[in-house]
């Protein structure tokens, strides 16, 4: 089995669950965080007995809102990881942070605990958009958060933004983007606002209370942002991700390059790669209480999983691999499909591999599906 060098840790709590979010997230419940952190630490401690793992080259603490943890809780988790699994020198250690939580004290504590990268959920600078998204911070606070983090010594700062928000024009979207770029982040993720099943946003769209922008509008905002980012020297390295050279999210590259990773915490997914090229994916139980109980009993909190044959694993690797816009070799096992997609103008040769064309990016699902059975 291929040794795991990437760890994801899930913190499922939020002060407020935004209406568009379908991640595993729960409003903060009084007293839930300490026992959850205990359970996480216990799960992390058990991991090396279950899988070949470490030293870790990337650690990603995501959510939810990981910045709701006290600096002590975070430091304790990182310390457990360091002692029980091991962290490589020069590892990338990311924490996702809500602008509302980024204070000088917190930022300094995160630095001290070893965090090297901040991923800040800015989403938008526009008051109307933030209201629509039910974000609890203002645009000014988000920009201030970036400055605070930089002052605390973070040079690897990523900002998450949303486009395609109802009522926000392309010009307004670019204003938000420019405002963020003025703070010199190393990385930008720009996500199209997507209506996910089961969210309150989905209900509002169904009832007609909210009308989403059409495809042309969404793609227009996407490519306009791409041009702006390119002008600023950003590399478009994944469908929704741009970075300054050398500042790609190394942790997220693990997913797209189809290397193994382990997920700890509620609902977290893991991927194992077997020596015979089969892959195995499993995910932890979803309820916070169920998770805590499982870990307390010393059982593996895995809820379910699936094993993919070598052929299907290769298909899945190609499906995620084509998202990497600087080129991928993941399509190599599918010469027939590759040629067909190149002929259709969706893929183009890139270096020794291929990459999505402009049209291919717009129809990435059609490309990805070609490699599935």
């Amino acid at each position: 089995m291929e040794r795991i060098h990437s760890l994801y840790v899930h913190i499922p709590f939020c002060t407020w669950v935004c209406k568009y979010c379908d991640f595993t997230a729960y409003p903060v419940l009084q007293g839930m965080i300490p026992p959850y952190v205990d359970a996480l630490a216990a799960e992390i401690a058990q991991v090396p007995q279950r899988y070949p793992i470490g030293p870790l080259r990337t650690v990603f603490i995501g959510g939810g809102t990981p910045s709701l943890l006290t600096p002590e809780q975070l430091a304790r988790l990182l310390e457990t990881i360091r002692q029980r699994i091991g962290i490589a020198t020069a590892a990338e250690i990311t924490i996702e942070a809500n602008p509302s939580n980024i204070t000088s004290a917190y930022a300094a504590a995160w630095r001290k605990a070893g965090v090297t990268r901040l991923s800040i959920g800015v989403q938008s600078l526009l008051p109307a958009a933030l209201r629509f998204l039910e974000r609890l911070h203002s645009g000014g606070e988000a920009l201030q958060a970036i400055r605070v983090a930089r002052q605390a010594g973070f040079d690897n700062i990523g900002c998450d933004l949303l486009y395609g928000i109802p009522g926000v024009s392309t010009a307004e979207w670019l204003e938000s983007l420019d405002g963020v770029l003025a703070e010199q982040p190393a990385h930008v993720s720009a996500y199209e606002l997507t209506v996910e099943q089961g969210t309150r946003l989905a209900q509002e769209v169904r009832s007609g209370a909210v009308v989403m922008p059409d495809n042309e509008e969404q793609l227009g905002q996407y490519w306009a942002a791409d041009r702006r980012l390119a002008d600023e020297g950003f590399v478009h390295y994944e469908i929704s991700n741009w970075s300054r050279p050398g500042f790609e999210s190394r942790h997220n590259l693990t997913y797209w390059e189809y290397r193994p990773y382990l997920g700890c915490g509620v609902g977290a997914h893991s991927l194992l790669r077997h020596a015979d090229s089969r892959s195995e994916r499993f995910w932890n139980v979803k309820g916070v209480k169920a998770y805590i109980d499982a870990v307390k009993e010393g059982t593996n909190p895995v809820a379910d999983g699936e094993t993919l044959s070598a052929a299907r694993a290769a298909g899945e690797a190609a499906m995620v691999g084509v998202r990497l816009l600087q080129g991928t070799r993941a399509v190599d096992p599918f010469p027939v499909e590759r040629d067909h997609l190149v002929a259709a103008g969706l893929l183009a040769p890139a270096g020794e591999g291929v990459c999505l064309t402009t049209r291919g990016v717009e129809l990435a699902n059609q490309v990805g599906a070609a490699f599935l059975r």
């Binding site: 469908i239 997920g263 997914h269 699936e306 969706l346 990016v361 717009e362 699902n365 059975r373």
Partner: protein, 625 residues
Amino acid sequence: MAPAAEAATFSTNFRLGTLVVSPLVTTPTRLIRAISVIAHIDHGKTTLSDRLLEFTGTVAKRDMVEQVLDSLDLERERGITIKAQAVRMLYQASDGETYQINLIDTPGHVDFSYEVSRALAACDGAILVVDASQGVEAQTIANAHQAQEHHLAIIPVINKIDLQQANPELVREEIERVIGVPGSSAILASARQGIGTREILEAVVRDVPPPTGDPEGPLQALVFDAKFDPYRGVVVYVRVIQGTLRAGMRILMMQTEKTFEVDEVGIFRPEREPIDELSAGEVGYIIANIRNVRDSRVGDTVTDAARPAAAPLPGYKHVTPMVFAGLFPIDSEQYPALKEALERLQLNDAALVYEPETSAALGFGFRCGFLGLLHMDIVQERLEREFNLSLLTTAPTVEYRVRLRTGEELAVDNPDHLPNPSSIEAISEPMVLATIVTPSTYVGNMMELSQERRGQFLNMEYQPGDRVLITYRIPLGEIIHDYYDQLKSRSKGYASLDYELVGFEEGELVKLDVLVAGSPVDALSMIVHRDKAQQQGRRLAEKLKALIPRQLFEVPIQAAIGGKVVARETVPAMRKDVLAKCYGGDVTRKRKLLEKQKEGKKRMKRVGNVEIPQEAFMAVLSLDK
């Protein structure tokens, strides 16, 4: 006698076949009756049959599955009867005698009217069921006329009298005026509630004549159905008209001229039950190691090979398919499996004909002939369900007769095979005589519909109870294109239809071609009347535009007549299909989503570069608004 000894005698008698209530006992010819239940669809034919079985103790109430006689799963699901069935019942009548009543259930759909005709030929009487709230309908008339042609005693039954909308007195009058049977003799019944069952059975023993054939004469037995049993071969359903059928006999099928040795004769109770012999007047089955239903065609006469009858029974008719369509596997690798499935299905369905066909667009498949659209539907469903195939059916068409300038005549059952127009002298199309029964309110709509379909008005009669009988001569090709659905929708479901083939007629017919992304798709071609060609072409292009999903590129759709484009539509290219996020926890979900989309595509046929769904090939069926 001590109870124990009595019981022993009882069982011995049973084995020897002398027990009075045993169906295995030979019944004197005068106590035999053979009847059929006929009705318009949904008038309660099968429910009534079930009640008769229950009342005579043929099937215990606790064993009653709703619709005992419909044994195909599909029949029960769709609530229709496809294959005829035959059951022997014993009924102790009020005259004290125990009668053997043979009940033959008949298919209720117009597609299977030949089977109805053969079933009736095997009977001496018919119970004509009429819904007390619906009254006489098109198939009531058609079935009653068939029964009269076979000189059957008709026992009219007005069913569903428990319904609130029931109007039995009006229905009595209709029966008398439209069918020509005394309405006063009609029995009021509710099969659902078991009302009138005894009266019906009494009427059967009183009014239906016993058989007249001589049990000692040369054997003549009418084949009225056949079924394939994978273990025993073909089970042939017969009514012995004259002579006696026994196991061990060598029999001759007088039409197919094949001989077989009888392994087993028996009756249905309703399960198969072997008996020693079937003699004149009796109904039952033969098993004779027959491997294909084609060798024992419905309507054929079974005789004794050693002492053959002088002539076969009258009325045998070769069943000819009315509707033709291509059947293609969605996945071309399933072609051998489809071939095998058709062979197997044909063992059980003599009306199904097929031959290999190659389509430039769809690859290898089969051209199949069916009795009608329902038959086609059933065949496709059985192939998919019982043989696990994924199939594409092309739009059904009729068979045209083409006379070439050279004088040669061709039968064309595939529009794409129509010869070059310059070589054609004339094209003839099959015509039907359509009988429509409708409340007078919808007469206008019915006439309008029939006129739109190039119908020639023949006759109109007003009947009691606000019923109007309209007859039209209409091209069969127009009937199979959605006519029945239109008839129902334009009469709010009140009109009914029956039709029969009456010959061929020359028409101004042309071929309409369809080009998808610039290439002709042979499977979408249709033969249409010149006057309607342009309009049909436009509608077909619009319809295809709506049915063909967006592809990676723009797809032009053109309809053309003789190389001239008469309509054009464009399916715009797919604009966007991308997920914003795909991180560690999203991969499984995303893969499953894409796999599901791909599964949907597998139900489509790839023609050139374009994925075309099954519905598109059926678009031509409903071009009228």
